[in-house]
């Protein structure tokens, strides 16, 4: 059962391996992005010791971890892949397979993303970790909870993209929706640019009712030790609730979509 989905994961992983040059360049550019933010924060912190509970080392750790996690947002192109499949009619071949469409998409995404995690995110993080003397999570337990939170955040990001992709069955063209949700909402509320503690009260309140902070801010705050005890457990529970809700909405969405499916030019 799981084995057939794992095949998709492995295949997607191997497919990504094909274009090495592209991956190296991507890594290089990501590093440039991160350098910008690291030096921005260093400049902002000159003459200060602590702001909103973050000292310089704390904030740099936050920025590097959150920017590393942001890579998933950049590289996960599930919405566009589904859109393409709908537009070309290729989605029909997926529907004929005796497998679950959502799970298959997740398995494929996991393959691409585990490649990204291994060959882009990890080296990038280690480079900055060494160069700027960042902190590790306070304990091994925190580290494992962090990884758990990253995975949950990833599934939330996936589910949001999946829902956007499903809209292609009605809209055909979803670039607009994608830009609005991912480049607009997710960027503003995920906390990739600065910790939510730095947000004005109003924005922080809006962020609290949306799922986006669970993608980057939660895992990062767990890593830096900002969330501990009860706070940490609540964060994980909120993530779980969002996973349940968004996966559910995605399933309802694609069932409805398949019922009304009309293939263009088929």
């Amino acid at each position: 059962m799981i084995k057939k989905y794992l095949t998709f994961t492995v295949k997607a992983f191997q497919r990504t391996l094909t274009y090495r040059f592209e991956l190296w360049m991507e890594l290089l550019i990501n590093v440039l992005f991160m350098l910008v933010y690291v030096y921005l924060w260093k400049a902002l912190y000159t003459g200060r010791t602590s702001v909103e509970g973050y000292d310089l080392n704390g904030i740099l750790t936050y920025i590097v971890v959150s920017q590393t996690l942001l890579t998933f947002t950049f590289t996960l192109r599930i919405a566009r892949i589904i859109e393409e499949k709908v537009r070309t009619g290729e989605v029909v071949t997926d529907l004929m397979k005796p497998i679950d469409f959502q799970l298959m998409t997740l398995a494929t995404a996991a393959g691409t993303s585990s490649h990204t995690a291994l060959f882009n995110m990890l080296p990038k993080f280690l480079l900055f970790y060494g160069a700027f003397g960042l902190s590790l999570p306070p304990s091994l337990l925190t580290l494992s909870l962090f990884i758990m939170s990253v995975v949950l955040g990833y599934v939330i990001l996936f589910s949001i993209e999946f829902i956007i992709g499903i809209f292609a069955f009605w809209l055909v063209e979803i670039r607009g929706l994608y830009a609005f949700v991912i480049w607009g909402l997710a960027m503003l509320f995920s906390g990739y640019f600065l910790p939510l503690e730095f947000y004005p009260t109003f924005l922080a309140k809006v962020a609290a009712v949306l799922p986006f902070r669970a993608i980057i801010y939660f895992p990062t705050a767990i890593y830096t030790g900002q969330f501990i005890g009860e706070h940490l457990v609540t964060a994980l529970l909120i993530q779980l609730a969002w996973v349940g809700a968004l996966v559910g909405i995605g399933r309802l969405g694609y069932r409805a979509a398949f019922r009304k499916l009309v293939i263009q030019g088929g």
């Binding site: 360049m25 991507e26 350098l35 929706l177 609005f180 480049w183």
Partner: protein
């Protein structure tokens, strides 16, 4: 000859724009999305600087001024160079062959056949931000300031465009450039919206001589805002943007031509 090309440009671009307008809802949402995301980044920048007041002696208004300069140049380039976003698609699918046999220069055909109007919303937002920042910094419009600003933005747009072209051209050798073009230009733009004095020497040199985006924002801003921070570089760099733009145009076009010469189809 020139008139024929101008006519052709509008014909090709018009066809693309019409096709994109078929999906009105999506088009509207995308414009909206772009405006929201621009506003968001600015809002976050504002939240940040409200807390910290200055970055290396640059006030909020001055940073927004740099942000505006960089974004205006970037968005105008995005309108005209939309095609370069995912140029590698042409190579992977072998579609470049079809472009090469057309009776116009390939680069002209590529650029004309795709002009993304959605970036107009980005450009308008950027212009609005820039105008506001301009007034916040106590600058006043005089003829010389207006001319200098206009030249700076034009040169800035050209520099951004050539960077985009160079990174797209890479695909002629490597087959795939993926999101490379997009990312490279986005990253350099991001670097250029902050005063480059925050970076170590190596990064400053990179942004001055290799990916010369410092000429889009930082150096011209020295002239406009009278900051006098040259970080050991010649003071004439404040007027350097048009020269750099010209050099970049020649370099990128030569690279493009040599890339096309060695191009052989993927044969799929």
């Amino acid at each position: 000859m020139m008139r024929r090309y101008i006519k052709l440009y509008f014909l090709l671009a018009g066809a693309y724009v019409r096709s994109r307008l078929q999906y009105r809802l999506s088009f509207g949402l995308m414009c909206f999305g772009i405006v929201v995301s621009e506003a968001c980044l600015l809002g976050l920048l504002g939240a940040l600087l409200a807390k910290f007041r200055t970055v290396n002696g640059w006030t909020w208004a001055e940073v927004v001024f740099l942000y505006g300069l960089g974004n205006v140049a970037h968005s105008f380039m995005r309108i005209l160079g939309s095609q370069l976003d995912d140029f590698d698609r042409y190579i992977i699918r072998g579609e470049l062959d079809g472009v090469l046999i057309r009776p116009v220069p390939p680069l002209f055909y590529l650029l004309a056949s795709r002009v993304e109007l959605i970036h107009v919303s980005r450009a308008l937002t950027s212009v609005a931000i820039f105008v506001v920042a301009f007034h916040l910094t106590d600058l006043r419009w005089t003829l010389s300031v207006a001319l200098f600003t206009f030249t700076t933005i034009l040169s800035g747009g050209v520099i951004m465009f050539t960077l985009m072209l160079i990174s797209a051209t890479v695909a002629l050798w490597t087959t795939k450039s993926g999101k490379l073009t997009d990312l490279l230009v986005a990253a350099t733009k991001e670097a250029a919206i902050f005063p480059i004095s925050i970076y170590p020497l190596a990064v400053r040199l990179l942004l001055t001589f290799i990916l010369p985006v410092a000429f889009v924002t930082y150096y011209p801003a020295q002239q406009l805002l009278q900051k006098g921070e040259f970080l050991g570089m010649p003071e004439s760099f404040q007027f350097g943007a048009p020269v750099v733009a010209l050099v970049m145009v020649c370099a990128s076009y030569l690279l493009w031509c040599s890339g096309l010469r060695r191009y052989h189809s993927t044969g799929s």
